[in-house]
């Protein structure tokens, strides 16, 4: 691991790492989550750029699902009727997904389009309304970058980045809305997993700091995608000022830890995380002898570097 050649390809986008270094200065909830979950998972994903082929199906499905809802939200905010907004969003997603035939029972083009229509029908008279930002634009699909007060180098502070689906007014209060798809049931157990939660806390923080909006927390619109149906549930999770400050204090330590791993060029395995969430995608790699892991990676994974600085 210490002798690996770090040459990530981010295309036209800037690198989230300091030049010529394995020290990451720009972080999103995904990369921070990998680090917290397992340093080895962080290494395999962020430093080596591996992504499981199975994950790619979920990722692509999620991208299309979010985009469909974004198009609908923007059309509604621009004054379109319900039918007009649905048709406009449906048209684009229908065209963009032509020829996309993933080999997955639940994540297909048909279940994607069905899930969009069912979502719109479920929330047809939704009381959660998209707010308008100071410049008059609807608060939909918002990429943010937030400079922390934590120094990475003498002349550069760490940056937090992310992507919010929407900011809504609900009963006179403001919430970040985050849409999620899952194959699991939408019980109270499902929503309980979001407090504490790295992404939700970051988004609450960003909503207040970047957009100067007094957000109460995050409204989670979850969609359970099954072969024959899609069902939806909504949950709200709040963060106090004390919780946000605590998270930021912890963040300083996590950044220091990440820099320590980078300096040593070693990211240890956290075996206690291997079986969480149905099992880590890299479990089948890490349970092999180190000498043969590369060949297993090349079989079941593909190179696709995750970049917190790449806008969606």
């Amino acid at each position: 691991m210490s002798d690996f050649n770090f040459q990530p390809d981010y295309g036209q986008h800037p690198s989230p790492f300091l030049e010529g270094s394995c020290v990451q200065y720009a972080w999103d909830s995904t990369s921070l989550g990998y680090l917290k979950e397992c340093p080895r998972k962080y290494y395999l994903t962020m430093l080596e750029g591996w992504r499981s082929k199975a994950d790619s199906v979920h990722f692509t499905f999620g991208i299309h699902f979010h985009r469909g809802l974004e198009l609908y939200d923007k059309a509604k905010a621009a004054g379109a009727t319900e039918d007009e907004a649905q048709e406009a969003a449906f048209k684009i997603i229908f065209e963009e997904t032509a020829g996309w035939n993933p080999d997955h029972p639940q994540k297909t083009r048909d279940t994607l389009l069905r899930s969009l229509v069912w979502y719109w029908e479920t929330y047809r008279d939704d009381q959660a309304k998209t707010i308008l930002l100071a410049d008059g634009s609807p608060a939909v699909e918002l990429s943010f970058r937030l400079e922390t007060e934590i120094p990475c180098t003498p002349d550069r502070n760490y940056i937090l980045s992310g992507h919010m689906d929407r900011i809504v007014d609900f009963g006179g209060l403001r919430y970040i809305m985050d849409r999620k798809t899952t194959g699991g049931s939408l019980s109270s157990y499902y929503f309980n997993q979001y407090n504490p939660d790295n992404q939700i806390t970051l988004y609450t923080l960003a909503g207040r700091a970047v957009y100067d909006i007094p957000v109460q927390g995050v409204m989670i619109d979850a969609a359970q995608i099954m072969v024959g149906f899609t069902t939806f549930a909504r949950g709200i999770t709040m963060r106090s000022n004390g919780q946000l400050e605590e998270w930021l204090t912890d963040l300083d330590t996590w950044f220091t830890t990440a820099a320590y791993y980078a300096e040593r060029r070693h990211w240890p395995m956290n075996e206690k995380s291997c079986n969480n969430y149905g099992g880590c995608v890299f479990k089948g790699i890490c349970n092999q002898d180190p000498a043969v892991r590369e060949s297993f990676l090349k079989t079941d994974f593909e190179k696709k570097y995750w970049n917190p600085l790449e806008p969606r």
């Binding site: 229908f94 065209e95 029908e121």
Partner: protein, 74 residues
């Protein structure tokens, strides 16, 4: 709306539309597909599958055994 009011989805028509070049579809074609999914959903809701305990109780108390989508917030 009761289940008797709902037209049966036409799988041949929908699969035909899916098979065509998406750029060749008209607004009417796309609305047919959207309507198809809406009907699917209405039938699924009327079937009682996927209802919460509260929604299932509302359906059970209905004299007809059917529920209005609006009454259960769907």
């Amino acid at each position: 709306m009761s289940s008797e009011d709902l037209p049966e989805p036409n799988p041949v028509l929908i699969s035909d539309l899916f098979a065509r070049d998406p750029l060749s579809l008209t607004v009417t074609d796309r609305r047919r597909i959207i309507e198809h999914y809406r009907e699917n959903r209405a039938l699924w809701v009327q079937s009682g599958k996927g209802l919460t305990t509260k929604q299932a109780a509302a359906k059970k108390q209905s004299p007809t055994g059917k529920i209005d989508l609006a009454d259960i917030g769907l």
